[in-house]
Symmetry: C2
Subunit: 342 residues, 2 copies
C-alpha cells in the first residue's frame, strides 16, 4: 500500500553509529564536517557511510535546524526559454555544490508569490532565489525578518540592503544603437515593450543615450508602443509605416516584436536589411532561424542564475559579500538583419 512509507528499510544515523561503534553525535559531526572527531575515526565513519550508501534525512536536518541542502527558486514559469535558462543556471550551480532545488512557479500571480511565505516557514530550504513581479517592499521586509538568505534576479531596486543580480539592459541597448549608428543609420525607430516593464524603459534609455552621445536628434515620431509580443511588434510597425516618417533602421526592445516587425515590413514590400535594418533584444532561438537571421542583444540569462546561486551559497555559508548589486553585461550578436549605409 502506497499510503504508508515503510521507513524501516532506510538507514538512519543510528544505524551508522552502531555500525561504527560510536554515538549518533559523532556521526553527525562527521556528516557536518565539524571538529571534535579524530581524523582516524572520521575516515572510518566516512567509509561506513559510503559503503552503506547512507544519506541523511533532509527533513530531519531541516527540523533540527541545520542546513537542508535545498535552495528554493521562485520563478514565474518554466516553459519560457528565458526562465528555463535561469533555472538551468541555478540548478547546475547548486548541484555542483551539492545543493538540490525546490521549484516554485508563480505564473505571475501575486497570490502565488505570496505563498512563498509558507515555503520559508517550512524550514525546507536554506536560501531563496527570487524572480517575481509583485514583490513589494513589505515582502522584502518579511524576508529580511525571516533571517533566511535571499537573492533577487532581475529585480532592480535602490534598496542597497538586498542582494540582486540584474542584466545591464541600458548598456546593452546603448551598444546595439551605437552599432546601428556605426553602420550609418541615423533615422532609427524604436519599438517599446510593455509599458510597465522596467527593462523596456532601461533599453529605451540606452537607445536615447546612444543617440545623444552621437549628436543625433531624437525623433518622437519614430517611437511606437508595443507589448513584447510578436503581434504587438507587427502592429507597431504597421502604425510606424503609416506615419510615412522616414527611417532606415528599427531597434525593437525584444526579439518577438522584431520578428513581428519583419513580417510587417515584408508585407509592405520592404526588404530586410536592404530597405530597413533591424536589431532585436534577447537572442531567443527563433531569432537565428528567421529570414534574415536577426542581429540582437544576448542577455546573460544562464549567468544570472549562476551568479545568483553563487551569491546565495556564500550567504548560506555565512560569508560576507562586500557588494550587493550585480550588473551583468549583455552581448551584441551580429547577424544579417543590418546593412551598412556607407
Amino acid at each position: 500500500m502506497p499510503q504508508k512509507k515503510p521507513k524501516n528499510t532506510k538507514l538512519t544515523i543510528e544505524d551508522i553509529a552502531k555500525l561504527a561503534g560510536v554515538s549518533k553525535a559523532t556521526v553527525s559531526y562527521v556528516l557536518n564536517d565539524k571538529p571534535g572527531v579524530s581524523e582516524e575515526l572520521r575516515l572510518k565513519i566516512k567509509k561506513i557511510i559510503e559503503d552503506c550508501n547512507y544519506v541523511p534525512n533532509s527533513a530531519a536536518r531541516g527540523l533540527a535546524g541545520e542546513k537542508t541542502h535545498f535552495i528554493g527558486l521562485v520563478i514565474p514559469d518554466v516553459s519560457d526559454m528565458f526562465y528555463a535558462n535561469i533555472i538551468r543556471g541555478v540548478e547546475k550551480t547548486s548541484n555542483k555544490h551539492n545543493y538540490l532545488l525546490n521549484l516554485y512557479t508563480t505564473h505571475g500571480e501575486e497570490e502565488k508569490e505570496r505563498r512563498v511565505i509558507g515555503l520559508i516557514n517550512s524550514s525546507m530550504v536554506d536560501g531563496l532565489i527570487i524572480m517575481a513581479y509583485y514583490i513589494k517592499d513589505n515582502f522584502v521586509d518579511f524576508l529580511k525578518n525571516e533571517g533566511i538568505p535571499f537573492v533577487f534576479i532581475d529585480y532592480p531596486t535602490k534598496d542597497e540592503d538586498i542582494y540582486t543580480v540584474v542584466v545591464d539592459n541600458e548598456t546593452g541597448a546603448f551598444e546595439a544603437t551605437e552599432y546601428l549608428i556605426s553602420l550609418g543609420h541615423e533615422k532609427i525607430a524604436f519599438l517599446e515593450g510593455h509599458e510597465a516593464a522596467w527593462d523596456s524603459k532601461a533599453r529605451f534609455m540606452g537607445f536615447l543615450k546612444a543617440l545623444t552621445a552621437n549628436s543625433i536628434e531624437f525623433n518622437p515620431l519614430l517611437i511606437e508602443k508595443g507589448d513584447f509580443t510578436r503581434e504587438g511588434g507587427y502592429k507597431a510597425t504597421k502604425r510606424l509605416l503609416e506615419k510615412r516618417e522616414e527611417f532606415t533602421a528599427i531597434f525593437s526592445s525584444n526579439d518577438q516584436m522584431a520578428i513581428g516587425a519583419v513580417r510587417a515590413l515584408k508585407e509592405k514590400g520592404l526588404k530586410v536589411p536592404e530597405d530597413v535594418s533591424i536589431v532585436g533584444f534577447d537572442n531567443i532561438e527563433a531569432s537565428s532561424i528567421i529570414d534574415p537571421p536577426l542581429t540582437t542583444v544576448m542577455q546573460p540569462i544562464y549567468e544570472m542564475g549562476k551568479k545568483a546561486t553563487e551569491i546565495l551559497l556564500r550567504l548560506i555559508n555565512g560569508e560576507n559579500i562586500e557588494r550587493k548589486n550585480f550588473l551583468l553585461k549583455t552581448k551584441l550578436i551580429k547577424r544579417s538583419s543590418c546593412k551598412s549605409l556607407k
Copy 2:
C-alpha cells in the same frame, strides 16, 4: 546573520493550539482533515489558522510520517523545451492539488540518476515522477521496495507492475505516413533517429506499418541513419541524395533532422514542397518558423506531465488505479511542407 534561522518568529502548531484553547493533536486533526473534531471546533480552528496565516512545517510533517505535499520530478534537463513542457504539466497539475515541486535534474548522467535514491530517503517527497535514461530494473526494484509511489514518463516497459505514461510514437508515425500516402506519395524516404532510441524505432515501425497497410513496397535504400540532430539530418539527406534513388517525400523521425534535411535539399537546388515533401516529428518551435513551415507530429508533452501527476496524486492518496500503462495520442500538424501529387 544569515547563518542562524531565527525560528522564534514562526508560528507553530502549538501557538495555534493555545490560541484555540485546544491541544496540538486537535489542530493536527483539523490540518489533515481527520475525523474526531466537532464541526464547530473545526471551523473555529480553521479560522484561526487562516487569520494567522499559519502554514505547517513540511519538514516536521515529513519526519512525522505524514504527507510532505511535495512531489519529486526527476528529469534530464530544464533548458530543453520538451522537458520544460513536461515540468510545466507536472507543476501546474500538482499546484492545483496543493502540491509543490522538487526538481532533480540528471543531465542524462547515470550517477546523478542514482542520487535520486538519496532524495527518497529524505522523506521529503510523497511521490516521484521519473523521466530518465539509465533506469535499470534494479532501480525499479529499489523504488518498489521503498514503498513510495512513482510514475515513469516516456519509459516503455513490459513490466506491467509499474505506472507509465508514454507517447504513442508508432501510431503518430503511422498517421503521418498515411498522410503522405494520401497525398499520392509512394517513394518515401525515412530518416532514423539515434540508434538506441526506442522512440525512433517506434516511429520507424509506424512508418513501415503504414506502407504495408497501403500495399507499398518498402525500399531499404530510402532509409538513412541519423542521430536526432540538425546536422545529422543534413548529412543523412546528403547521403540519400547521392544514392540517386528516386523519392518524392521524406519522413524524418524528428524536426531537428527535418530542418537539416530542408537545408540539404535547398543546397542541391531542390524545393520543398514542390520537389520533395517533408514531414517531421515533435512540433518544436522552429518547425513553425522555418521556410516552409513544417508539417509535423505534435507530441502531447504537457499532457504527459499532467497525466503522470494525476496518476501519482491518486496513488499518494491511496487510490487504486486499474490501468497502469497509459498511451497518449499524438496529433498531426499540417503545414506547408507537403504537396499533393494528385
